[in-house]
């Protein structure tokens, strides 16, 4: 008796240690249907205890034949986001479980930064969740590392029914000839402005403007109200400008920049500098807002992603309206495009790929989902669900939906482009740094600065493409 107790105690101790150690190695991986981040730690310890007792009892009953329970399937789902998203997604998952008897969905979520730290540790330990939320900035990195499953076979077989999804949206998940992710929804870059300021200045803001119309408008509002604009020559805006000429920031396969004339860059820099000179464009050192409260403090008109409208309205405490991006005067192609808000991906080597794909299919096609989650992950990609949700929205969500619908009409959208180079983020940041030097007037030789940037960027991209 005594010996046996000692033995099981030691075994239990060993298991505790093993569990503890693997938990460390996997970067604190949890697997629990816990409803909120706050409780996850607690849940984890509970589960460890459960594992210990389970293991101990298994040892005691080791001679008994292992009773395998069939039809019980489990998948793990992981995403980033705030508490609201967590609550609605959990509800959606319960609906999925209801509609798929015998299926258990374990899930976890974190904030944006924590998500990528966690995901990379899970990736190293070969322990990625079956379904994971993916972002355009990380897609290539993960896909080229062989971590995401190809969805094409499932699309072909119909297990993932994308009949109502435009091909251009599906293409957003293509990396190296395979579909590695599916957009959860779309949003688009837009200009948001404060109608109250426009009214005060007595100006109309049209849905579509050329660059010179826009600048005239900014001058007028500044003269009448003192409100400045905060147009900033970020890498995105360089890209919009390039798209007007049928070009892109990166080339097709990400091996180099997509343009070879520095004057494209110089032009948008000069636009900012001229505006600062004249006074209607804010100087970088005068910016006081943190980010999403910008309309309360620094500007009356500024670009944003249409799906972020609600956040900006709340944080700035003012009503906003959306109009299309500014088009270059001599534009030959529309600059705007629908960008995937985020993606769903299936991990390569998932043991339950079919079920994971079914989960994504459920998200795409089941209209009941949208009664719960709304357009938190973007305007739905499937035509039917998009139409279904259209009438049910209000406030910022309705404005976003309306704007995306408006863009989709007529000839207002170009092709989306997904950065194909794993060094894309570095090159984007590099452009940001040079731009900062320019707008702080530290760098005054714009032509040379643009040339230098392009040379360095091409070198980085080429080295990564080898």
């Amino acid at each position: 008796m005594q010996k046996k107790r000692w033995g099981s105690l030691l075994a239990a101790l060993g298991i505790v240690m093993a569990v503890g150690l693997t938990a460390c190695g996997k970067g604190g991986q949890t697997s629990g249907g816990n409803g909120s981040a706050g409780t996850s730690a607690k849940e984890e310890t509970k589960e460890e205890q459960a594992a210990v007792t389970e293991a101990a009892s298994q040892e005691a009953a080791s001679e008994e034949a292992a009773d395998e329970t069939p039809a019980e399937q489990t998948i793990r789902v992981m995403w980033w986001g705030n508490q609201d998203r967590a609550d609605t997604t959990a509800e959606m998952i319960h609906l999925f479980e209801e509609k798929h008897p015998g299926v258990t969905v374990e899930f976890e979520f974190t904030d944006w930064t924590g998500y990528w730290d966690k995901l990379s540790t899970l990736a190293i330990s070969g322990n990625l969740p079956d379904v994971l939320q993916m972002d355009v900035g990380y897609l290539v990195q993960y896909a080229t590392s062989g971590l995401l499953a190809d969805l094409q076979p499932y699309i072909t077989s119909g297990a993932l029914d994308l009949s109502g999804v435009p091909q251009s949206v599906i293409d957003c998940g293509e990396v190296g000839g395979a579909i590695r992710a599916l957009p959860t929804g779309s949003s688009a870059p837009a200009l948001a402005y404060r109608p109250d300021v426009a009214e005060e200045a007595g100006v109309e803001v049209p849905m579509e403007m050329t660059r010179s119309q826009y600048l005239d408008l900014c001058r007028e509002v500044y003269a009448k109200t003192g409100w400045k604009t905060s147009f900033y020559p970020s890498v995105d805006f360089l890209d919009y400008s390039l798209r007007n000429y049928g070009l892109h920031f990166f080339n097709e396969d990400g091996s180099a920049l997509g343009f070879d004339d520095p004057s494209y860059i110089v032009k948008i820099w000069q636009c900012k500098l001229d505006g600062m000179e004249e006074g209607y464009n804010i100087k970088p050192e005068d910016v006081t807002s943190e980010s999403t409260d910008i309309y309360a403090k620094d500007t009356w008109i500024d670009p944003l992603w249409s799906n972020q409208l609600g956040t900006y309205e709340t944080d700035s405490g003012c009503e906003l309206k959306l109009v299309n991006l500014v088009q270059e005067d001599d534009a030959v192609e529309p600059s705007n495009y629908l960008r995937p808000t985020m993606y769903w991906s299936v991990a390569e080597g998932s043991e339950n790929t079919d079920l994971a794909v079914e989960f994504i299919n459920f998200f795409v096609n089941d209209t009941d989902v949208y009664d719960i989650v709304g357009i938190d992950r973007g305007v739905p990609v499937d035509a039917d669900t998009k139409a279904y949700i259209g009438d049910k929205l209000e406030g910022a969500a309705a404005k976003n939906n309306e704007f995306v619908a408006w863009l989709s009409e007529g000839d207002r959208l170009g092709d989306p482009i997904i950065d194909q180079s794993p060094k894309a983020a570095e090159v984007r940041d590099k452009f940001g740094e040079v731009t900062q030097k320019v707008v702080y007037r530290v760098e005054t030789d714009l032509e040379q600065a643009a040339k230098n940037f392009m040379e360095e960027a091409n070198a980085i991209l080429a080295s990564a493409a080898e």
Binding site: Q2, K3, L21, C24, D117, S120, A123, I124, Q141, Y142, S145, G146, L147, P284, E285, D286, V287, T288, P422, K423, A425, E426, E433, Q436, K437, Y440, V442
Partner: protein, 308 residues
């Protein structure tokens, strides 16, 4: 038979467990595990990774000295960040030591409320490492923050502390200096350990406050000054938090600490191998500075026990 065997087994274990050194090891066991798993293993792993191309998501590839070559020859931000870190360390450390010594002197006076003051002055350090304080600091120095409001009262126009490349670093240095509590406490203890008889003798000889400080207090606490100097220098060279939280290295990389650049490389651009190489180079730099301080100490640090 079996019963006997069991007993001997149990007796043997008991004999082992009853030895004193066993209890000792059992008690430090968690700590040893911690050191092995969280300190030593990463330490050696990072040394290996410094010579690899490691994107975190795929296995490391051995590339020899390429990381170091890139660091010294190609990465201009590497040198820029090193410069920022030196500037930060060489301004912050002396100022912080001076301030903490001054406060320690004031608080070493005998008075009833002195305990309360000590606590109050130590509070910034208690909260020091926290994210909240850094964010609060950011608010204080914002365009519409308290500092600018105060300046407004005395007629000074608001200053763009954090968005101006020439002031941003000093705001961060200010935050570091403000957290002087721990070195202040160490100074305080040292000051109170200086025998009162020295001062009495000096006073009889007609020495004033300043003379007492420079001729008695300061020489007597040089060992502690030395300790604080080394500690603060190492801490400052490894600085990360304040820049990450308040300015993210901006504006114009004027607050891009070495630590932050390393973090960006390793975790933002997935160049873990390069990050490890940077970390090892910093280790060398810290080693050099610490050695220099130690070397110089024989010239200015006074130990009572020393026979000259």
């Amino acid at each position: 038979m079996e019963d006997k065997k069991k007993r001997t087994w149990r007796q043997k274990t008991a004999a082992v467990l009853n030895k004193q050194w066993v209890a000792g090891y059992v008690f430090i066991f968690p700590f040893i595990i911690g050191v092995l798993v969280f300190k030593l293993a990463p330490f050696f792993t990072s040394f290996y990774l410094a010579f690899t191309d490691y994107s975190v998501l795929s296995p490391p590839k051995w590339i020899g000295l390429d990381n170091f070559r890139k660091m010294f020859l190609q990465d201009e931000k590497f040198w820029a960040s090193l410069l920022v870190t030196f500037k930060f360390a060489f301004v912050q450390v002396p100022v912080k030591l001076a301030v903490s010594l001054l406060v320690a002197l004031v608080l070493s006076r005998r008075s009833r409320a002195v305990g309360v003051y000590r606590t109050i002055f130590y509070i910034p350090s208690l909260m020091g490492g926290s994210v909240a304080v850094a964010l609060l600091w950011k608010q204080l120095f914002a365009m519409d923050g308290v500092i600018n409001v105060l300046l407004g009262w005395i007629g000074i126009p608001p200053v763009q502390w954090l968005t101006n490349p020439s002031t941003a670093l000093y705001v961060l240095i200010g935050l570091g200096v403000w957290q002087f509590g721990s070195s202040m406490l160490i100074f305080l203890a040292a000051i109170q350990n200086v025998p009162a008889t020295y001062y009495e003798a000096a006073r009889i000889d007609g020495a004033g406050g300043f003379t007492c400080f420079f001729r008695i207090t300061l020489p007597m606490i040089t060992p502690v000054l030395f300790f604080n100097l080394v500690n603060q220098l190492i801490g400052a060279l490894q600085a990360f938090n304040s820049s990450y939280l308040i300015t993210s290295g901006g504006p114009l990389n004027s607050t891009l600490y070495y630590g932050l650049h390393l973090y960006n490389r390793a975790f933002k651009y997935y160049e873990m191998g390069y990050g490890c190489a940077m970390a090892w180079f910093m280790l060398v730099i810290i080693g050099i500075f610490t050695a220099l301080v130690f070397r110089s100490s024989s010239a200015w640090v006074y130990y009572e026990s020393e026979v000259k």
